[in-house]
């Protein structure tokens, strides 16, 4: 079985490559299905139809879709994400500019959520069905059940507009000089993530605590603290880590709302902007980066789980 590890890695890499290829085609087709193209959308009161037609030729939109796709693919394979149809700048630049805010936001959220969720999960798991467990479960469930935009609207109304304690938008602010900018967005993203994660950690803890090997370790006189940290945690973390990997996509959905409300110039905003302006190379580039990130995260999660509890490798 252990010998299978190498082919498995190869298999996985191949799958990832196929996944990326299929995804790019899919994204291209999806965006091509949208009504209008980048040139047409510029048709407002200031550009005449002739100017639009000129623009379309300039942007290369007059060429057939497959040709454009192949050209894009060729560029990507040489490490060039292409050129935005809207700004005329490189897509890589758009990615670089938009990824920072989202990354900071996501990482900061995780930095708050993960330790807390692990702690809560363990507390709940060790007091399964007790008063504290029920209380924490109810609170986190309640937090997770409030749609993020509702939380966001209310938090902004109360803490920024009424009380004036915290900045309401990232506009005119700068993260380095005012880290308080992060507080409200994190508060919005916090609820659901902490609920999902702590639930998994709780389930893992309960399962581990009920496992024969924990009972046995206790019988052999391992003290409680040590038991929790060294024996229970690695096992309890496995479902949590897998959940964390799955959270990526949901988190992105939340991030978009948060980015919209707090005017954070991030990845999700760039993606939706790209769709709205039919900037296909930008959408393609952003999706590609997202997909690679998703694949890497999943890979990392699998490896972490394998590191935590080697047995899971066998189960796949």
């Amino acid at each position: 079985m252990r010998l299978l590890a190498v082919p498995y890695a190869v298999q996985r890499t191949l799958l990832a490559v196929v996944q990326l290829a299929v995804l790019s085609v899919l994204v291209f087709v999806l965006t091509s299905l949208l009504p209008g193209d980048a040139a047409e959308l510029r048709f407002t009161e200031t550009l005449t139809p002739e100017q639009v037609a000129g623009l379309r030729i300039e942007l290369g939109l007059d060429r057939p879709a497959p040709e454009r796709f192949v050209h894009w693919l060729g560029d990507v394979l040489t490490g060039d994400l292409g050129t935005s149809l809207i700004s005329g700048g490189p897509v890589a630049g758009i990615v670089r500019h938009s990824i920072g805010a989202t990354l900071v936001l996501t990482l900061a959220t995780l930095a708050v959520v993960v330790p807390l969720a692990v702690a809560l999960g363990i507390v709940m798991g060790t007091r399964e069905n007790g008063r504290i467990d029920r209380a924490i479960t109810s609170v986190t469930l309640a937090l997770s059940a409030i749609p993020d935009f509702v939380i966001a609207v209310v938090l902004v109304a109360v803490f920024s507009l009424k009380l004036g304690w915290l900045p309401a938008t990232w506009i005119g602010g700068d993260l380095l000089s005012s880290p308080a900018l992060l507080i409200l967005p994190i508060a919005v993203l916090f609820g659901r993530t902490v609920c999902l994660l702590s639930r998994q950690v709780r389930a893992g803890t309960v399962a581990a605590l009920n496992a024969e090997y924990i009972t046995q370790a206790r019988r052999l006189g391992v003290p409680r603290r040590r038991l929790l940290l060294r024996h229970v945690l690695p096992n309890a973390a496995v479902p949590g880590v897998q959940e964390l990997a799955r959270t990526g996509d949901t988190l992105l959905g939340g991030v978009l709302v948060v980015e919209a409300i707090f005017a954070i110039p991030g990845f999700a905003t760039a993606l939706v902007d790209g769709v709205e302006t039919r900037d296909i190379p930008t959408v393609q580039g952003l999706t590609l980066v997202l997909a690679v990130a998703a694949l890497l995260i999943n890979l990392a999660a699998d490896l972490t789980c394998n590191r935590l509890v080697p047995r899971t490798a066998l189960l796949r």
Partner: protein, 268 residues
Amino acid sequence: MIARARSVRGWVAAVMVLLPLVVAVIGPFLPYDAAKGLPYSSEGLLGTDGLGRDVLGLLLVGGRTALGMAAGAVVLAYLMGGLIGLTAASTRHRWLDEGLMRPLDVLLPLPSLLVISVVAVGWSASALAITVAVAMVNVPTVARLVRAAALDAASGPVVEALRMQRESWARIQLGYVGRSVLGPVAADLGTRITLAVFLVASVNFLGLGLSPTAPDWAVSVSRNREGLLLQPWSVLAPALLLVSFTLGFNLLADRIVHRSRRLVESAS
């Protein structure tokens, strides 16, 4: 004491789910004469919204899409994902299993937001299109979940024993495998329906979904949020109904999962 606390909590959860559900289902049939006024005025029980429409009247007709789209999407996702998952799990042909599941694996990293915003932008304001898109986004996860759960059951000795007894395929699949899948599915349902409500609501909130004058709860929250301080009910009332539904549903699902676990535990 604790037992009573539990059952009280159960009732609260049930009411939380039922209230929005009832409003959504029978609201449109109520002969409520919605008053018309100026934007964000306090005419009527809950005042008016940004278009001068009666908030209560809107609540009564706005639940159908808000909950219907999410519920429809989840049902659709389970119909498709469940079928794919069950088939993949119960087939003896490896190629069929792979053929069904691998394409879904490919779809997994596709950001759901992209799919939905493309659909929302492309088929503007079509409730059906958004429902289908939300469902599609959920199909891969549901299929994997159902397959994993069914695979455990379908490959276990119980099914072999049932086959040894010559039980019919339907009885094995529905009576045993299906029931084994039910547990994980129930646990998943609470989260999934919340996610679907969120997703649909987020799409509407971001202005990609339904028409901005639709009475939909999420649209109301989104459109009226700038009037939050002028007429809070125009935002809070639909938001509360949405929250009540998702929260109640989660509490209920949590209880069901707990109870079934306790049953299994007390049985062993």
